[in-house]
Protein backbone atom coordinates (compact mmCIF):
# COMPACT_ATOMS: atom_id res chain seq x y z
CA UNK A 1 0.00 0.00 0.00
CA UNK A 2 1.30 3.44 -0.90
CA UNK A 3 1.77 5.90 1.97
CA UNK A 4 0.40 8.79 -0.10
CA UNK A 5 -1.08 11.81 1.67
CA UNK A 6 -4.41 12.91 0.13
CA UNK A 7 -3.72 16.22 -1.59
CA UNK A 8 -6.09 18.25 -3.78
CA UNK A 9 -6.55 16.76 -7.23
CA UNK A 10 -7.62 19.86 -9.14
CA UNK A 11 -6.30 23.38 -9.75
CA UNK A 12 -9.31 24.82 -7.94
CA UNK A 13 -8.53 22.55 -5.00
CA UNK A 14 -4.96 23.83 -4.79
CA UNK A 15 -6.10 27.46 -5.07
CA UNK A 16 -8.60 26.85 -2.26
CA UNK A 17 -5.95 25.26 -0.03
CA UNK A 18 -3.59 28.17 -0.69
CA UNK A 19 -6.33 30.67 0.19
CA UNK A 20 -7.10 28.91 3.48
CA UNK A 21 -3.42 28.88 4.44
CA UNK A 22 -3.23 32.57 3.48
CA UNK A 23 -6.20 33.41 5.73
CA UNK A 24 -4.63 31.58 8.69
CA UNK A 25 -1.31 33.37 8.10
CA UNK A 26 -3.10 36.75 8.24
CA UNK A 27 -3.79 36.23 11.95
CA UNK A 28 -0.44 34.69 12.82
CA UNK A 29 3.21 35.42 13.41
CA UNK A 30 4.40 36.56 9.96
CA UNK A 31 1.67 39.21 9.58
CA UNK A 32 0.60 40.26 13.10
CA UNK A 33 3.81 42.29 13.84
CA UNK A 34 2.81 44.70 11.01
CA UNK A 35 -0.39 45.55 12.89
CA UNK A 36 1.03 45.42 16.40
CA UNK A 37 1.18 49.20 16.74
CA UNK A 38 -0.21 51.77 19.18
CA UNK A 39 -1.90 53.59 16.28
CA UNK A 40 -5.66 54.18 16.44
CA UNK A 41 -7.58 53.54 13.21
CA UNK A 42 -11.34 54.18 12.84
CA UNK A 43 -11.40 54.90 16.59
CA UNK A 44 -9.99 51.47 17.51
CA UNK A 45 -6.55 49.96 18.15
CA UNK A 46 -4.93 48.76 14.94
CA UNK A 47 -4.99 45.11 16.12
CA UNK A 48 -8.73 45.34 16.82
CA UNK A 49 -9.40 46.69 13.31
CA UNK A 50 -7.21 43.93 11.87
CA UNK A 51 -9.18 41.26 13.82
CA UNK A 52 -12.40 42.57 12.26
CA UNK A 53 -10.74 42.59 8.82
CA UNK A 54 -9.74 38.92 9.39
CA UNK A 55 -13.40 38.07 10.09
CA UNK A 56 -14.47 39.74 6.83
CA UNK A 57 -11.65 38.21 4.76
CA UNK A 58 -12.28 34.74 6.20
CA UNK A 59 -16.00 34.79 5.41
CA UNK A 60 -15.34 36.23 1.92
CA UNK A 61 -12.72 33.55 1.21
CA UNK A 62 -15.02 30.72 2.28
CA UNK A 63 -17.81 32.21 0.18
CA UNK A 64 -15.43 32.44 -2.83
CA UNK A 65 -14.28 28.83 -2.47
CA UNK A 66 -17.92 27.69 -2.21
CA UNK A 67 -18.60 29.65 -5.39
CA UNK A 68 -15.76 28.08 -7.43
CA UNK A 69 -16.43 24.64 -5.90
CA UNK A 70 -12.81 24.30 -4.77
CA UNK A 71 -13.56 22.04 -1.81
CA UNK A 72 -16.02 19.21 -2.24
Amino acid sequence: MKSTFMLPKTRKGWISLALIVFVIVLGSWPVIPFFNKETIVFGMPMLMVWSIVIIVITTSTLWFINKIGGVK
Partner: protein, 501 residues
Protein backbone atom coordinates in the same frame (compact mmCIF):
# COMPACT_ATOMS: atom_id res chain seq x y z
CA UNK B 1 -38.28 46.18 44.66
CA UNK B 2 -36.40 47.46 41.59
CA UNK B 3 -33.30 45.69 42.86
CA UNK B 4 -34.95 42.37 41.98
CA UNK B 5 -35.65 43.32 38.35
CA UNK B 6 -32.26 42.00 37.07
CA UNK B 7 -32.97 38.68 38.81
CA UNK B 8 -36.49 38.57 37.38
CA UNK B 9 -35.13 39.14 33.85
CA UNK B 10 -32.50 36.42 34.37
CA UNK B 11 -35.08 33.93 35.71
CA UNK B 12 -37.46 34.84 32.83
CA UNK B 13 -34.69 33.89 30.41
CA UNK B 14 -34.40 30.48 32.11
CA UNK B 15 -38.15 29.88 31.85
CA UNK B 16 -38.15 30.76 28.13
CA UNK B 17 -35.18 28.44 27.57
CA UNK B 18 -37.02 25.56 29.30
CA UNK B 19 -40.18 26.12 27.26
CA UNK B 20 -38.29 26.30 23.95
CA UNK B 21 -36.07 23.34 24.73
CA UNK B 22 -38.80 21.13 26.15
CA UNK B 23 -41.04 21.47 23.11
CA UNK B 24 -38.19 21.12 20.58
CA UNK B 25 -38.26 17.33 20.53
CA UNK B 26 -42.04 16.98 20.30
CA UNK B 27 -43.21 13.97 18.29
CA UNK B 28 -39.82 12.20 18.29
CA UNK B 29 -38.87 9.04 20.16
CA UNK B 30 -36.04 10.30 22.34
CA UNK B 31 -35.15 6.80 23.54
CA UNK B 32 -33.53 6.45 20.13
CA UNK B 33 -29.86 7.57 20.25
CA UNK B 34 -30.09 8.89 16.67
CA UNK B 35 -33.01 11.19 17.59
CA UNK B 36 -31.70 12.29 20.98
CA UNK B 37 -28.04 12.36 20.01
CA UNK B 38 -28.00 14.06 16.62
CA UNK B 39 -31.52 15.50 16.38
CA UNK B 40 -32.42 13.10 13.54
CA UNK B 41 -29.87 15.03 11.39
CA UNK B 42 -32.49 17.63 10.60
CA UNK B 43 -31.06 21.11 11.30
CA UNK B 44 -31.03 23.78 8.61
CA UNK B 45 -28.28 26.40 8.04
CA UNK B 46 -29.77 29.10 10.33
CA UNK B 47 -30.14 26.77 13.32
CA UNK B 48 -26.68 25.34 12.60
CA UNK B 49 -25.20 28.86 12.47
CA UNK B 50 -26.61 29.81 15.86
CA UNK B 51 -25.96 26.36 17.35
CA UNK B 52 -22.24 26.42 16.56
CA UNK B 53 -21.83 30.17 17.16
CA UNK B 54 -23.53 30.23 20.58
CA UNK B 55 -21.68 27.06 21.60
CA UNK B 56 -18.40 28.85 20.86
CA UNK B 57 -19.21 31.96 22.90
CA UNK B 58 -18.99 30.76 26.49
CA UNK B 59 -19.37 32.48 29.85
CA UNK B 60 -15.60 32.62 29.93
CA UNK B 61 -15.67 34.53 26.64
CA UNK B 62 -18.43 36.85 27.83
CA UNK B 63 -16.79 37.51 31.20
CA UNK B 64 -13.20 36.64 30.29
CA UNK B 65 -12.86 38.83 27.19
CA UNK B 66 -13.64 42.07 29.07
CA UNK B 67 -11.51 40.63 31.89
CA UNK B 68 -8.52 40.14 29.60
CA UNK B 69 -9.02 43.57 28.02
CA UNK B 70 -9.08 45.04 31.55
CA UNK B 71 -5.92 43.29 32.71
CA UNK B 72 -3.91 42.86 29.47
CA UNK B 73 -5.47 44.95 26.67
CA UNK B 74 -5.43 43.82 23.03
CA UNK B 75 -4.26 40.22 23.76
CA UNK B 76 -8.00 39.62 24.42
CA UNK B 77 -8.48 39.77 20.64
CA UNK B 78 -6.83 36.37 20.15
CA UNK B 79 -10.22 34.87 21.09
CA UNK B 80 -11.86 36.69 18.16
CA UNK B 81 -9.23 35.34 15.76
CA UNK B 82 -9.29 31.72 16.97
CA UNK B 83 -13.10 31.57 16.98
CA UNK B 84 -13.03 32.91 13.41
CA UNK B 85 -10.62 30.16 12.38
CA UNK B 86 -12.73 27.53 14.13
CA UNK B 87 -15.34 28.56 11.57
CA UNK B 88 -12.86 27.50 8.85
CA UNK B 89 -12.42 24.12 10.58
CA UNK B 90 -16.22 23.66 10.78
CA UNK B 91 -16.51 24.61 7.11
CA UNK B 92 -13.74 22.21 6.03
CA UNK B 93 -14.26 19.19 8.29
CA UNK B 94 -17.97 19.56 9.09
CA UNK B 95 -19.29 18.31 5.70
CA UNK B 96 -16.72 15.47 5.63
CA UNK B 97 -17.69 14.36 9.13
CA UNK B 98 -21.39 14.62 8.30
CA UNK B 99 -21.00 12.53 5.14
CA UNK B 100 -19.09 9.83 6.96
CA UNK B 101 -21.58 9.79 9.86
CA UNK B 102 -24.56 9.71 7.56
CA UNK B 103 -23.09 6.84 5.55
CA UNK B 104 -21.98 4.63 8.43
CA UNK B 105 -24.38 5.95 11.14
CA UNK B 106 -21.74 7.22 13.55
CA UNK B 107 -22.92 9.70 16.12
CA UNK B 108 -19.64 10.42 17.90
CA UNK B 109 -16.02 11.20 17.08
CA UNK B 110 -14.82 8.14 19.01
CA UNK B 111 -17.09 5.83 16.98
CA UNK B 112 -15.45 7.09 13.79
CA UNK B 113 -11.97 6.65 15.33
CA UNK B 114 -12.88 3.05 16.37
CA UNK B 115 -14.01 2.23 12.87
CA UNK B 116 -11.16 3.89 10.97
CA UNK B 117 -8.44 2.33 13.14
CA UNK B 118 -10.34 -0.95 13.66
CA UNK B 119 -9.99 -0.67 17.42
CA UNK B 120 -12.90 -0.26 19.84
CA UNK B 121 -10.51 0.16 22.81
CA UNK B 122 -8.86 3.12 21.01
CA UNK B 123 -12.31 4.71 20.50
CA UNK B 124 -13.25 4.08 24.15
CA UNK B 125 -9.96 5.51 25.35
CA UNK B 126 -10.39 8.59 23.14
CA UNK B 127 -13.91 9.03 24.54
CA UNK B 128 -12.81 8.90 28.19
CA UNK B 129 -9.72 11.05 27.89
CA UNK B 130 -11.24 13.78 25.71
CA UNK B 131 -14.20 13.90 28.11
CA UNK B 132 -11.83 15.20 30.83
CA UNK B 133 -11.41 18.46 28.94
CA UNK B 134 -15.08 18.61 27.93
CA UNK B 135 -16.30 18.06 31.51
CA UNK B 136 -13.82 20.57 32.93
CA UNK B 137 -15.22 23.09 30.47
CA UNK B 138 -18.79 22.27 31.58
CA UNK B 139 -17.74 22.78 35.20
CA UNK B 140 -16.24 26.19 34.38
CA UNK B 141 -19.49 27.23 32.66
CA UNK B 142 -21.61 25.99 35.56
CA UNK B 143 -19.45 27.94 38.01
CA UNK B 144 -19.97 31.02 35.80
CA UNK B 145 -23.75 30.47 35.72
CA UNK B 146 -23.88 30.13 39.52
CA UNK B 147 -21.82 33.32 39.87
CA UNK B 148 -24.26 35.28 37.67
CA UNK B 149 -27.26 34.03 39.66
CA UNK B 150 -25.47 35.00 42.86
CA UNK B 151 -24.71 38.55 41.65
CA UNK B 152 -28.14 39.13 40.09
CA UNK B 153 -29.86 38.04 43.32
CA UNK B 154 -27.55 40.24 45.45
CA UNK B 155 -26.22 37.12 47.18
CA UNK B 156 -29.63 35.56 47.90
CA UNK B 157 -28.87 32.58 45.67
CA UNK B 158 -25.75 30.90 47.07
CA UNK B 159 -23.31 29.17 44.73
CA UNK B 160 -24.55 25.63 45.45
CA UNK B 161 -28.19 26.61 44.75
CA UNK B 162 -27.09 28.40 41.55
CA UNK B 163 -25.24 25.26 40.42
CA UNK B 164 -28.29 23.03 40.92
CA UNK B 165 -30.65 25.64 39.46
CA UNK B 166 -28.70 26.05 36.21
CA UNK B 167 -28.05 22.30 35.85
CA UNK B 168 -31.69 21.54 36.75
CA UNK B 169 -32.94 23.86 34.00
CA UNK B 170 -30.61 22.29 31.44
CA UNK B 171 -31.55 18.75 32.52
CA UNK B 172 -35.27 19.36 31.88
CA UNK B 173 -34.94 20.18 28.22
CA UNK B 174 -31.81 18.16 27.52
CA UNK B 175 -33.44 14.94 28.77
CA UNK B 176 -36.66 15.68 26.90
CA UNK B 177 -35.27 16.84 23.53
CA UNK B 178 -31.50 16.15 23.25
CA UNK B 179 -29.63 17.93 20.45
CA UNK B 180 -32.90 19.43 19.19
CA UNK B 181 -33.17 21.30 22.51
CA UNK B 182 -29.57 22.45 22.25
CA UNK B 183 -30.25 23.67 18.71
CA UNK B 184 -33.32 25.72 19.58
CA UNK B 185 -32.05 27.07 22.93
CA UNK B 186 -28.67 27.95 21.41
CA UNK B 187 -30.49 29.81 18.62
CA UNK B 188 -32.36 31.81 21.28
CA UNK B 189 -29.24 32.24 23.43
CA UNK B 190 -27.12 33.25 20.42
CA UNK B 191 -29.61 35.94 19.40
CA UNK B 192 -29.84 37.20 22.99
CA UNK B 193 -26.05 37.35 23.38
CA UNK B 194 -25.61 39.29 20.14
CA UNK B 195 -28.18 41.93 21.10
CA UNK B 196 -27.06 42.21 24.74
CA UNK B 197 -23.37 42.51 23.88
CA UNK B 198 -23.90 45.45 21.52
CA UNK B 199 -26.48 47.05 23.79
CA UNK B 200 -24.25 46.89 26.88
CA UNK B 201 -21.12 47.88 24.93
CA UNK B 202 -22.72 50.96 23.41
CA UNK B 203 -24.44 51.89 26.66
CA UNK B 204 -21.15 51.75 28.58
CA UNK B 205 -19.41 53.72 25.81
CA UNK B 206 -22.07 56.41 25.93
CA UNK B 207 -21.86 56.62 29.70
CA UNK B 208 -18.07 56.94 29.64
CA UNK B 209 -17.63 59.24 26.62
CA UNK B 210 -21.02 60.91 26.05
CA UNK B 211 -21.15 59.44 22.52
CA UNK B 212 -21.12 56.11 20.72
CA UNK B 213 -17.60 56.12 19.29
CA UNK B 214 -14.89 53.97 20.87
CA UNK B 215 -12.27 56.61 19.91
CA UNK B 216 -12.18 58.59 23.21
CA UNK B 217 -11.72 55.33 25.17
CA UNK B 218 -8.75 54.20 23.11
CA UNK B 219 -7.22 57.71 22.93
CA UNK B 220 -7.21 57.70 26.73
CA UNK B 221 -5.60 54.24 26.73
CA UNK B 222 -3.04 55.46 24.18
CA UNK B 223 -2.17 58.45 26.38
CA UNK B 224 -2.10 56.70 29.77
CA UNK B 225 -1.22 53.02 29.18
CA UNK B 226 -0.11 52.58 25.54
CA UNK B 227 1.28 49.10 26.26
CA UNK B 228 -2.37 47.89 26.42
CA UNK B 229 -2.72 48.62 22.68
CA UNK B 230 -0.01 46.21 21.51
CA UNK B 231 1.27 42.69 22.15
CA UNK B 232 2.56 41.44 24.60
CA UNK B 233 -0.06 43.56 26.44
CA UNK B 234 -0.33 45.12 29.89
CA UNK B 235 1.01 42.07 31.74
CA UNK B 236 3.68 41.41 29.12
CA UNK B 237 2.72 37.74 28.85
CA UNK B 238 1.44 37.41 25.30
CA UNK B 239 4.07 37.95 22.67
CA UNK B 240 3.44 37.29 18.97
CA UNK B 241 4.71 33.69 19.24
CA UNK B 242 2.37 32.84 22.10
CA UNK B 243 -0.51 34.62 20.33
CA UNK B 244 0.10 32.53 17.19
CA UNK B 245 0.54 29.18 18.93
CA UNK B 246 -2.46 29.75 21.25
CA UNK B 247 -4.60 30.38 18.17
CA UNK B 248 -3.24 27.34 16.35
CA UNK B 249 -3.78 24.87 19.22
CA UNK B 250 -7.37 26.13 19.66
CA UNK B 251 -8.00 25.72 15.93
CA UNK B 252 -6.60 22.16 15.92
CA UNK B 253 -8.85 21.15 18.83
CA UNK B 254 -11.87 19.46 17.25
CA UNK B 255 -14.14 18.88 20.25
CA UNK B 256 -16.51 15.96 20.62
CA UNK B 257 -19.25 18.61 20.93
CA UNK B 258 -18.38 20.18 17.55
CA UNK B 259 -18.42 16.77 15.91
CA UNK B 260 -21.88 15.93 17.26
CA UNK B 261 -23.24 19.37 16.31
CA UNK B 262 -22.06 18.87 12.71
CA UNK B 263 -23.78 15.47 12.70
CA UNK B 264 -27.08 17.17 13.53
CA UNK B 265 -27.16 19.08 10.21
CA UNK B 266 -29.82 18.25 7.63
CA UNK B 267 -27.20 18.17 4.85
CA UNK B 268 -23.58 18.94 3.99
CA UNK B 269 -24.77 22.23 2.48
CA UNK B 270 -26.38 23.24 5.79
CA UNK B 271 -23.01 23.03 7.55
CA UNK B 272 -21.14 24.73 4.71
CA UNK B 273 -23.55 27.66 4.53
CA UNK B 274 -23.64 28.07 8.31
CA UNK B 275 -19.85 27.82 8.68
CA UNK B 276 -19.21 30.29 5.85
CA UNK B 277 -21.01 32.99 7.82
CA UNK B 278 -19.91 31.75 11.25
CA UNK B 279 -16.96 34.19 11.67
CA UNK B 280 -19.37 37.15 11.43
CA UNK B 281 -21.01 36.15 14.73
CA UNK B 282 -17.78 36.71 16.64
CA UNK B 283 -17.94 40.48 16.12
CA UNK B 284 -20.14 40.06 19.24
CA UNK B 285 -16.91 40.10 21.28
CA UNK B 286 -15.75 43.56 20.16
CA UNK B 287 -18.18 45.65 22.28
CA UNK B 288 -17.53 43.46 25.34
CA UNK B 289 -13.77 43.97 24.90
CA UNK B 290 -14.41 47.73 24.71
CA UNK B 291 -16.30 47.42 28.04
CA UNK B 292 -13.15 45.87 29.55
CA UNK B 293 -11.07 48.86 28.40
CA UNK B 294 -13.61 51.28 29.95
CA UNK B 295 -13.34 49.30 33.20
CA UNK B 296 -9.61 50.12 33.43
CA UNK B 297 -10.52 53.72 34.23
CA UNK B 298 -13.75 53.12 36.16
CA UNK B 299 -12.43 50.35 38.42
CA UNK B 300 -8.66 50.72 38.72
CA UNK B 301 -8.45 48.28 41.65
CA UNK B 302 -10.77 45.42 40.78
CA UNK B 303 -9.76 42.12 42.44
CA UNK B 304 -11.19 39.79 39.79
CA UNK B 305 -10.88 41.24 36.25
CA UNK B 306 -13.46 38.74 34.92
CA UNK B 307 -16.20 40.52 36.88
CA UNK B 308 -15.57 43.94 35.28
CA UNK B 309 -18.58 43.94 32.90
CA UNK B 310 -21.04 42.60 35.49
CA UNK B 311 -19.72 45.02 38.13
CA UNK B 312 -20.15 47.94 35.74
CA UNK B 313 -23.69 46.85 34.86
CA UNK B 314 -24.80 46.39 38.47
CA UNK B 315 -23.25 49.69 39.66
CA UNK B 316 -23.98 52.06 36.77
CA UNK B 317 -26.55 50.76 34.35
CA UNK B 318 -30.33 50.78 34.61
CA UNK B 319 -31.68 47.62 36.23
CA UNK B 320 -33.14 46.39 32.92
CA UNK B 321 -29.73 46.61 31.19
CA UNK B 322 -28.06 44.86 34.14
CA UNK B 323 -30.72 42.15 33.98
CA UNK B 324 -30.18 41.72 30.25
CA UNK B 325 -26.43 41.35 30.77
CA UNK B 326 -27.12 38.77 33.48
CA UNK B 327 -29.42 36.85 31.15
CA UNK B 328 -26.94 37.17 28.26
CA UNK B 329 -24.02 35.88 30.34
CA UNK B 330 -26.14 33.06 31.76
CA UNK B 331 -27.14 32.21 28.18
CA UNK B 332 -23.46 32.09 27.21
CA UNK B 333 -22.70 29.76 30.14
CA UNK B 334 -25.61 27.42 29.52
CA UNK B 335 -25.21 27.34 25.74
CA UNK B 336 -21.63 26.13 26.22
CA UNK B 337 -22.17 23.65 29.05
CA UNK B 338 -25.22 21.83 27.65
CA UNK B 339 -23.44 20.52 24.50
CA UNK B 340 -20.64 19.24 26.78
CA UNK B 341 -23.07 17.30 29.00
CA UNK B 342 -24.92 15.98 25.96
CA UNK B 343 -21.76 14.92 24.11
CA UNK B 344 -20.28 13.19 27.16
CA UNK B 345 -23.48 11.21 27.85
CA UNK B 346 -23.71 10.20 24.21
CA UNK B 347 -20.07 9.19 23.93
CA UNK B 348 -19.94 7.29 27.26
CA UNK B 349 -23.05 5.35 26.25
CA UNK B 350 -22.12 4.59 22.64
CA UNK B 351 -18.33 4.31 22.85
CA UNK B 352 -17.65 2.96 26.33
CA UNK B 353 -20.70 1.26 27.90
CA UNK B 354 -22.28 -0.25 24.77
CA UNK B 355 -19.14 -2.21 23.72
CA UNK B 356 -18.31 -3.03 27.37
CA UNK B 357 -21.73 -4.47 28.29
CA UNK B 358 -22.62 -5.54 24.74
CA UNK B 359 -25.82 -3.47 24.80
CA UNK B 360 -28.10 -3.59 21.77
CA UNK B 361 -29.19 -0.30 20.13
CA UNK B 362 -32.46 -0.10 22.12
CA UNK B 363 -30.73 -0.49 25.50
CA UNK B 364 -27.99 1.99 24.53
CA UNK B 365 -30.65 4.45 23.33
CA UNK B 366 -32.51 4.26 26.65
CA UNK B 367 -29.38 4.74 28.73
CA UNK B 368 -27.88 7.53 26.64
CA UNK B 369 -30.16 10.32 27.81
CA UNK B 370 -30.40 8.97 31.37
CA UNK B 371 -26.64 9.32 31.70
CA UNK B 372 -26.93 13.13 31.83
CA UNK B 373 -28.19 12.86 35.43
CA UNK B 374 -25.24 10.99 36.99
CA UNK B 375 -22.83 13.13 34.94
CA UNK B 376 -24.42 16.31 36.31
CA UNK B 377 -25.06 15.08 39.86
CA UNK B 378 -21.83 13.22 40.56
CA UNK B 379 -19.25 15.02 38.42
CA UNK B 380 -20.23 18.55 37.36
CA UNK B 381 -22.25 19.71 40.39
CA UNK B 382 -19.84 18.67 43.19
CA UNK B 383 -16.76 19.99 41.37
CA UNK B 384 -18.54 23.27 40.51
CA UNK B 385 -19.55 23.75 44.16
CA UNK B 386 -16.01 23.03 45.39
CA UNK B 387 -14.57 25.54 42.86
CA UNK B 388 -11.12 23.90 43.06
CA UNK B 389 -8.14 26.10 42.29
CA UNK B 390 -6.73 23.33 40.11
CA UNK B 391 -9.67 23.46 37.72
CA UNK B 392 -7.78 25.69 35.32
CA UNK B 393 -5.01 23.11 35.30
CA UNK B 394 -7.49 20.34 34.51
CA UNK B 395 -8.82 22.48 31.67
CA UNK B 396 -5.29 23.14 30.41
CA UNK B 397 -4.62 19.41 30.23
CA UNK B 398 -8.01 18.91 28.60
CA UNK B 399 -7.35 21.48 25.89
CA UNK B 400 -3.91 20.02 25.31
CA UNK B 401 -5.34 16.54 24.91
CA UNK B 402 -8.26 17.50 22.67
CA UNK B 403 -5.75 19.10 20.31
CA UNK B 404 -3.74 15.87 20.35
CA UNK B 405 -6.60 14.00 18.64
CA UNK B 406 -5.98 16.10 15.50
CA UNK B 407 -3.43 13.75 13.81
CA UNK B 408 -5.86 10.82 14.29
CA UNK B 409 -8.53 12.86 12.52
CA UNK B 410 -6.09 13.69 9.73
CA UNK B 411 -5.47 9.95 9.40
CA UNK B 412 -9.20 9.46 9.04
CA UNK B 413 -9.59 11.81 6.07
CA UNK B 414 -6.17 12.37 4.48
CA UNK B 415 -3.66 9.64 5.29
CA UNK B 416 -4.66 6.04 4.59
CA UNK B 417 -1.32 4.71 5.84
CA UNK B 418 -2.08 5.86 9.42
CA UNK B 419 -2.40 2.91 11.82
CA UNK B 420 -4.00 2.35 15.22
CA UNK B 421 -0.54 2.02 16.82
CA UNK B 422 0.56 5.29 15.24
CA UNK B 423 -2.62 6.99 16.49
CA UNK B 424 -2.29 5.55 20.00
CA UNK B 425 1.42 6.25 20.57
CA UNK B 426 1.18 9.66 18.92
CA UNK B 427 -1.70 10.56 21.22
CA UNK B 428 0.15 9.24 24.25
CA UNK B 429 3.42 11.06 23.45
CA UNK B 430 1.58 14.29 22.65
CA UNK B 431 -0.34 14.11 25.91
CA UNK B 432 2.80 13.54 28.02
CA UNK B 433 4.66 16.40 26.32
CA UNK B 434 1.66 18.75 26.74
CA UNK B 435 1.42 17.95 30.46
CA UNK B 436 5.17 18.35 30.88
CA UNK B 437 5.27 21.71 29.10
CA UNK B 438 2.12 22.97 30.83
CA UNK B 439 3.31 22.35 34.39
CA UNK B 440 7.02 21.59 34.60
CA UNK B 441 8.76 23.64 31.91
CA UNK B 442 6.04 26.13 31.06
CA UNK B 443 5.56 26.91 27.35
CA UNK B 444 9.27 26.70 26.27
CA UNK B 445 10.47 29.45 23.88
CA UNK B 446 7.06 31.15 24.28
CA UNK B 447 5.39 28.39 22.25
CA UNK B 448 2.12 26.95 23.63
CA UNK B 449 2.59 23.55 25.34
CA UNK B 450 -0.14 22.02 23.16
CA UNK B 451 1.79 22.90 19.99
CA UNK B 452 4.93 21.19 21.36
CA UNK B 453 2.74 18.18 22.13
CA UNK B 454 1.30 18.25 18.64
CA UNK B 455 4.77 18.38 17.03
CA UNK B 456 5.93 15.29 18.95
CA UNK B 457 2.56 13.60 18.46
CA UNK B 458 2.66 14.08 14.69
CA UNK B 459 6.25 12.80 14.43
CA UNK B 460 5.46 9.66 16.48
CA UNK B 461 2.16 9.19 14.61
CA UNK B 462 3.93 9.19 11.23
CA UNK B 463 6.96 7.08 12.23
CA UNK B 464 5.00 4.40 14.10
CA UNK B 465 2.38 4.24 11.34
CA UNK B 466 5.05 3.66 8.71
CA UNK B 467 6.49 0.64 10.54
CA UNK B 468 3.19 -0.97 11.59
CA UNK B 469 0.48 -2.76 9.66
CA UNK B 470 -2.16 -0.53 8.05
CA UNK B 471 -5.91 -1.07 8.45
CA UNK B 472 -7.56 -3.74 6.30
CA UNK B 473 -8.29 -3.09 2.61
CA UNK B 474 -12.03 -3.17 3.35
CA UNK B 475 -11.70 -0.30 5.85
CA UNK B 476 -9.40 1.72 3.59
CA UNK B 477 -11.88 1.29 0.73
CA UNK B 478 -14.72 2.64 2.89
CA UNK B 479 -12.76 5.66 4.10
CA UNK B 480 -10.93 6.49 0.88
CA UNK B 481 -13.21 5.21 -1.92
CA UNK B 482 -11.95 7.77 -4.50
CA UNK B 483 -8.28 6.82 -4.08
CA UNK B 484 -8.54 3.12 -3.34
CA UNK B 485 -7.30 1.94 -6.75
CA UNK B 486 -4.43 4.41 -6.73
CA UNK B 487 -3.35 3.35 -3.21
CA UNK B 488 -3.04 -0.31 -4.15
CA UNK B 489 -1.81 0.34 -7.72
CA UNK B 490 1.60 -1.32 -7.15
CA UNK B 491 0.04 -4.50 -5.79
CA UNK B 492 -2.26 -4.73 -8.81
CA UNK B 493 0.72 -4.35 -11.12
CA UNK B 494 2.72 -7.02 -9.23
CA UNK B 495 -0.20 -9.42 -9.30
CA UNK B 496 -0.94 -8.98 -12.98
CA UNK B 497 2.00 -11.02 -14.44
CA UNK B 498 1.17 -13.88 -12.05
CA UNK B 499 -2.42 -13.78 -13.20
CA UNK B 500 -1.46 -13.73 -16.88
CA UNK B 501 1.07 -16.49 -16.35
Amino acid sequence: MTMYIPLLITISYMIIAVLLGYTAGKGKDMNNAENWGVGSRSMGPITMYLLIAAGGVSAYTFMGSPGWAYSKGVPALYVVVYLTYMGVIAWYFGPKVWELGNKYKYVTQSAAISDRYESKPLGGLASIVTSIGVLAYAVLQTTGAAYILNVMSYGMIPTWVGVFLSLGVISIYLYRSGLKAIGITNAFQGGLMFVVSWFVGLWATNQFTGGYSFRPIFERVQADIPEFLTLPGGLGDMNVTFWTTSILISVFSIWQTHWIQWMGAASKQSIKRAATLLPTFYIVLIPMIAVGFIGIFMYPNLNNPDTVAIQMAVDNMPVVVAGLLGAGTLAAAMSSSEPCIHATALSYSKDVLQPLFKWDEVTAGKWTRRLIFPIMAFIIAPISIMEPASLVYILLIGYGFIGQAFPSIIGMFFWPRATKYGAFWGLFAGFVVTVLFSFVITHPLGVHAGIWGLLINTSVFVLVSLVTKPASKATIERFFPDRYEELYEDEHVKKMPETSA
